[in-house]
Amino acid sequence: MALSTTPRLLVGTKKGAWMLQADGARRRWNISAPICFGTSVFHIVQDPREPKRMVLSSKAGHLGPTVMVSKDGGKKWTEAKRPPAFPEGLARKSHSGVDEPRTVDHVFWLQPGHASEKGVWYAGTSPQGLFRSEDHGDTWQSVDGFNQHEKWSDWCGMKEDSPPDGARLHSINVDPRDARHLYIGMSAGGVFESCDGGATWTPLNKGCSAEFLPSPDAEYGHDPHCVRLHPLMPDRLYQQNHCGIYRMERGAGVWERIGMKMPKKVGDIGFPVVLHPRDPDTCWVFPMDGTSVWPRTSPEGKPAVYRTSNAGKSWQRQDKGMPDSNAWWTVFRQAMTADTEKRVGLYFGTTQGAVWASRDEGESWKAIAEGLPRIQSVEAAYL
């Protein structure tokens, strides 16, 4: 069956997930009934290899974390038979000196595997854990090369070192040329690379600042907020970090701070980075106030997207249609995305429950949904 030619947005919120379906012009959007209502949905992602399949990560207030899977485009959801869970006996260090059992608090990030590996998915958890499913998300196995690595505690820090909402493994990137070549990001921990399907890992943080660490040249311990590999130029990585916006050409192996060209009043702190699907030189970020005590709102209450179309040499502000004052919200790391239309559509969900859309690559914006719970993720899908 042919796929729809219009995008559908998969929106994960603090109180469930919703889908927004565009009309042919992407002007009108219909919103679905809630999915997993009342549960915190961290990520809901379509499988590009089998577009009717989706995977969703969820945590209810009282219960342990789980994963839901759908094979009919999100009409019916079934709970995974075996959600991600650490192997027994793993510990997490604490400043108290008493180790705690390491257990999955929630599944934070979902990533379909390589195009050649149907049914394979990866999941990143809080605290930092990497898991793999080979049956479309129904059962999950620990990637022990990471989870049981002898340096896990060094890389991931102690319990108290976590960001306010918990330490997380996110930004799982699979090289389209090689299913065994993986990148991950950890908050905190940094960016790591595996060239053997997750059996071994190497830190990849050279050139990246970590103002919260004693050493300016630390090998790991950094705080990438979002890392994206461009599928058409897989040796190019973009990173929105706790300490700026970066780009790496993998051959050079050093992060270059491309956010220095952002306006000083705005800064280059934020959560998401979104890539143009066909132009590796173009990407978008959504800056937030990362000064003083880190308010994590749009700078001065004036939200805006910033775009570069020359790989970070310069940036343009794009805020037409957005509030010009008193909009004290921001956008989380997986709550901004792009579609694949000829004139690329951009979408983001806010911490105050609105979904904003641009049909013209960020030049103008319109709110297409309001009143949702705090938005944690937005992904584009075609069904």
Partner: protein, 118 residues
């Protein structure tokens, strides 16, 4: 000799029990609460992990009562009844007919709920 233990299921876990609020599990003589939850898992795969983490600890917001007495550990001996309680607030009845999209077919909630807390 085996016995039957009545287990009360809170709202957020009834997606596993086909919305049943109570069920009966087999119990061997001398069985513990942990043994009962293993039996429950065999009947309703996946339910145990939502209550007990991978380190074998009762999750923070789950309370277990054996014949009305709080069981703080899985090693507590089973009784005639096991009540599983969600702390502070519980589940509620399922929503009415799911809301449909305006003028659109195909997207509606179906059997998706895992937690129907108010």
């Amino acid at each position: 000799m085996g016995a039957h233990v009545r287990v009360y299921i809170p709202g957020p876990l009834r997606s596993y029990t086909r919305e049943r609020g109570e069920c009966v599990v087999e119990s061997e003589a001398g069985a513990s609460v942990g043994d009962l939850l293993e039996s429950l898992e065999r009947q309703f795969p996946g339910i145990r992990f939502r209550m007990i983490d991978e380190a074998g600890r009762i999750r923070e917001h789950i309370r277990l009562f054996v014949d009305g007495e709080r069981a703080g550990a899985l090693s507590v001996k089973a009784g005639k009844e096991l009540q599983i309680i969600c702390a502070i607030s519980g589940g509620r009845e399922p929503l009415e007919e799911p809301q449909r999209l305006d003028g659109q077919e195909g997207i509606q909630q179906s059997g998706s709920g895992t937690d129907r807390r108010g």
